[in-house]
């Protein structure tokens, strides 16, 4: 899977997971609230029965007081009576918090029901009935939410995974087709390029007129551009990076060689080059480093203006390649290393050059910083 495909896949999956989680959490909240309501109703119904019973007992005690003065008690519940001035008359409650304005409330490990009396037996207006809270009821609700929530999440996640795959399939097919096309093209252009290059090299330029020599130079530029494209395509489609060909070499020499390779390209656009290079030994595959330099330099030429300038400096392990070209829009800077991404309609190309640069940089742990200003130029700062 390509990085762009992975990105789309991850984005889709993230949005999907957020959506699924929101739905599951919402359903869980609704289920929790309705369960709590149901549990409260159960408590209320039970405690209303206890309250009726307790009222009967209090009424009886009121009528037989002071012959009988023992406050009625029950093993199943605790109770308390308060007068209309919120003064306690008698209490067997265990919970300390008393709320007169609630019908049912939970205090610590107890559920408390409040009944307002119309006749003030024993002077009581408020009757409190207290029972131990049944923790198993709410635990069951939490357990159900955890089990079914997790189950729903897993099922929907699997479903989302396949949906995401289906979602990116057309994109994947298009990219696969493009890859196949590039692979086939790469294979087909190898031989003609080699023939053109070898024949150009064999030409005796001394016998040619200045006009024809200029024409041959143009053919040379074109064939080198083609050769460069071929190498890029070969790298993208056919090669795997490995350290088997790593060796130590002077980066300065390689840069000079590659700049020389593009000499005619620069000449054709009247681009002035300025090199300030110091010796710097690196370890790596020289061919890969050549791809790395070639792609940045060729971009600096391609997107430069006629009569522009390219400055290349290498000092203390920092390579700076700067051009005076069209520059890149700030919002596109982060995207320039993405494969098949192109931001100029005027210049050709597959949009793979800088993705190659990125791949090689990641492989050799090279840091690249891009600074660019529209219509002023672009600066690549490469650090080892």
């Amino acid at each position: 899977m390509l990085s762009s495909e992975k990105k789309v896949f991850r984005r889709f999956l993230t949005v999907y997971i957020i959506l699924v989680t929101t739905v599951i959490v919402s359903i869980s909240i609704i289920y929790y609230n309705s369960s709590v309501e149901r549990i409260n109703l159960q408590y209320k119904s039970l405690m209303q029965e206890f309250a009726s019973l307790q009222i009967k007992r209090i009424k009886w005690l009121h009528n037989h007081y002071p012959k009988y003065n023992k406050y009625p008690r029950d093993d199943r519940y605790n109770s308390a009576i308060y007068d209309l001035e919120y003064e306690e008359i008698f209490s067997t409650l265990k919970s300390k918090n008393i709320f007169f304005n609630k019908r049912l409330y939970f205090s610590g490990s107890y559920a408390v029901y409040v009944e307002v009396l119309s006749d003030y037996y024993l002077g009581a207006k408020y009757l409190f009935i207290e029972v131990p809270k049944n923790g198993a009821l709410i635990s069951k609700v939490y357990r159900n939410i955890a089990i079914f929530g997790l189950l729903a999440f897993i099922i929907l996640f699997i479903l989302g995974y396949y949906l995401a795959k289906m979602f990116i399939k057309p994109m994947k097919d298009s990219l696969d087709l493009l890859d196949c096309f590039i692979k086939d093209t790469t294979h087909e252009i190898n031989t003609p390029i080699s023939i053109i290059n070898s024949n150009i090299e064999m030409l005796n330029l001394d016998n040619l007129s200045a006009k024809n020599r200029k024409k041959i130079d143009r053919v040379k530029i074109a064939s080198r551009t083609l050769e460069n494209i071929y190498k890029d395509l070969k790298f993208v489609t056919l090669s795997d990076i490995s350290r088997s060909l790593d060796s130590e070499f002077n980066l300065k020499d390689l840069i000079e060689e590659r700049v020389d390779y593009f000499f005619m390209h620069m000449e054709s656009k009247k681009i002035v080059k300025e090199l300030k290079l110091e010796d710097f030994i690196v370890k790596g595959d020289r061919e890969l480093y050549a791809r790395f330099i070639d792609n940045i330099v060729s971009n600096a030429i391609k997107y430069n203006r006629v009569g522009g300038k390219i400055e290349i400096s290498l000092s203390n392990g920092v390579l700076i390649i700067e051009d005076s070209g069209v520059g890149i829009d700030k919002r596109n800077i982060d995207l320039i290393f993405t494969r098949y991404s192109r931001f100029s309609e005027h210049e050709g190309g597959f949009g793979i050059g800088l993705s190659i640069v990125k791949r090689i940089a990641e492989f050799y742990n090279i840091k690249i910083e891009v600074q660019s200003e529209k219509n002023k130029g672009t600066r690549f700062i490469i650090k080892w």
Partner: protein, 108 residues
């Protein structure tokens, strides 16, 4: 300190004597149980302050509609006469009445 306790005790004795004269004597004469009357009033007026205030105004302006007495009592003793006792003294009598028959602190 001893004098203070002595004076308080003396005041209580005097106040109780007033209560006996002002309330108990008449209720005994009319054969009306003070506790039963208290329980009837408690059933209607509930809390201490509410009870005392209601009873005070009832004593000053007794009406059959606001009375907690039985129908038989009302038939027998209508029209009800206002109690001719000084307000301060009546309030003290009611306080003693409440303390004597209150429920709070007397349940087990």
């Amino acid at each position: 300190m001893v004098i203070r306790y002595f004076l308080t005790a003396l005041l209580l004795v005097v106040a109780n004597a007033d209560f006996t004269t002002d309330c108990v004597a008449c209720h005994m004469q009319k054969k009306v149980d003070l506790r039963k009357t208290f329980m009837n009033a408690l059933l209607v007026y509930g809390g201490e302050n509410n009870f005392k205030t209601a009873l005070f105004y009832y004593c000053k302006n007794p009406q059959p509609m606001t009375s907690v007495m039985s129908e038989e009592f009302l038939k027998k003793y209508l029209p009800l006469n206002a109690i001719q006792i000084d307000s301060m003294r009546l309030k003290k009598d009611i306080d003693i009445y409440w303390e004597k028959y209150k429920i709070k602190g007397n349940l087990k």
